[in-house]
Symmetry: C2
Subunit: 299 residues, 2 copies
């Protein structure tokens, strides 16, 4: 199945213990696409400003992404500036300039409305809902969100959560939205809000999937040199959703494989700045590291 | 092989969101023994005061632990009072009364000197060293430590680390002693201090073993109702060391199995206060849950 992703395309400035980069192509939709593209054709729904560098647009096209619904709007591209210190676990946001994101109203082509696999990357839940309503009959909808929306647009988030199959969320946010510290309890409570499954991302500690039928904990692939963790969660989601879209079914076995692919994709993402590593990634790279990981974990 | 553990036998007062208990039998050696005893005969080296309840001593004996080197000394038994709040990840220590622990000088019987598998649970590194020097020719020595000793007796800790095979340590402490945030780097640096292997405990996030030949990450068994995490790390170490002692060899395969058994043992420990659950544990309970865990993780 084809895969449609709603998210952001951004220009990031990032500082980590490994160095500093300005004006990196980033954003949730970009990171997501870098891993998802290895499995299926990816349709990107996002907005950029008139200042968006031409070569970055060419780059996205060279990645074989469908850009029919990447809208250029009057104004500046969304910009994010952040810094990671010692722990590299979470960024300190230094600056956010919404630019064209502030008035973004997503729309997809008639043909794209029929795409059956949809990922709503982290963005305003009102926009996520607006996109979702345009889709004809999606077979699989997953959604990511963030503390910012949990706090500022909780009602809208709860509304759109009712319409999704898989809620992809990090542990801190899962605890915050559910009010439960224990992740099994959090998973159950979040599932009672609508999603059939909850996939909790724990960064360097891996991920864990909760469904009504099974729980699947998966450690992260151990990476020695973390250069820039920006977009790791989106890259994880891209590998996960890409694999599901390609498989065309959502069985326990397929879900577990999908999480493994997401885990491996994310491990590549953190090894370089921005999309440097993931834009060069091949399915063979993923498979090789996954087979190493499988051997590592076997007992 | 038999297994000798040096550690504490304590009387704990614990408050968690699930309730409050006073004068619980606890301490690193007690928790360690509860899981280790399921695999091999365990010799306990510790001290208690004259106030130690007779029925607790009978209880330890009923667990088939060898108490030849459990010394009763003039004074009070070591007491710890702690409270866990929301996260249950780490306790706030409210009170510590060292009692007889302050002047503890461990000694083992002539026969015990020949025991080949030794665990030095968290205690003063000077005492750990003193015990270790009494052992004739141990085949496998593992050691646990804590921030308190890393900060106050770093030199002594580094000394004894040179003589151990496996350093069992939690993630925060691994980072603190190595000065490295990345756990792979921390693992390597700690190994360069002496131990052939470093086993890092990450609480609800599982554990990860670093050797020169392989890395083994293992998620925790998901537990929905965490009643009291006190002693989880020691119970983990007990399952791990017990399995190794029983196996009599330290291959990659055996180490991985051992970590799996430790993980499962710890998951039982947190489900009840003190030793309530682990004192009733059977090897069959461990095997059943491990087989469930294996199935859960299979992909």
């Amino acid at each position: 199945m084809s895969l449609l992703v709603l998210g952001t395309v951004a220009l990031d400035s990032v500082k980590t213990p490994s160095g500093k980069r300005d004006c990196l192509l980033g954003g949730s939709a970009s990171h997501f696409s870098m891993s998802a593209r290895l499995f299926t054709d990816v349709h990107l729904v996002a907005t950029i400003g008139e200042d968006f560098p031409l070569h970055e647009r060419d780059f996205l096209r060279s990645m074989k992404l469908n850009l029919d619904s990447l809208k250029v709007n009057a104004g500046e591209t969304f910009k994010w500036e952040g810094e990671y210190q010692g722990s590299l676990n979470s960024a300190v946001t230094l600056k956010t300039e919404l630019g064209v994101l502030a008035t973004f109203d997503p729309s997809v082509t008639e043909k794209q409305r029929g795409i059956r696999c949809v990922f709503l990357a982290n963005t305003d839940p009102v926009i996520q809902m607006r996109l979702l309503k345009q889709m004809r009959k999606p077979a699989l909808v997953a959604l990511d969100s963030m503390n910012f929306w949990i706090n500022s647009k909780r009602k809208d988030l709860l509304q759109v959560l009712k319409m999704v199959d898989i809620y992809v969320v990090n542990d801190e946010e899962a605890r915050s939205l559910s009010g439960e510290h224990n992740l099994i309890k959090a998973g159950r409570k979040l599932r009672s809000m609508g999603p059939k499954m909850v996939l909790i991302k724990k960064g360097e500690h891996g991920a864990i999937l909760y469904s009504d039928k099974f729980i699947f904990p998966m450690p992260a692939y151990p990476v020695e040199t973390v250069v820039d963790p920006t977009g790791a969660g989106d890259t994880f989601a891209g590998g996960f959703m890409g694999y599901l879209a390609q498989s065309g079914k959502v069985t326990e076995g397929v879900l577990k494989e999908a999480i493994a692919y997401g885990t491996i994709a994310a491990s590549f993402n953190v090894e370089a700045f921005g999309l440097e590593r993931t834009s060069k990634l091949t399915i063979k790279d993923l498979r090789n590291r996954l087979s190493k990981f499988r051997k590592m974990m076997k007992f």
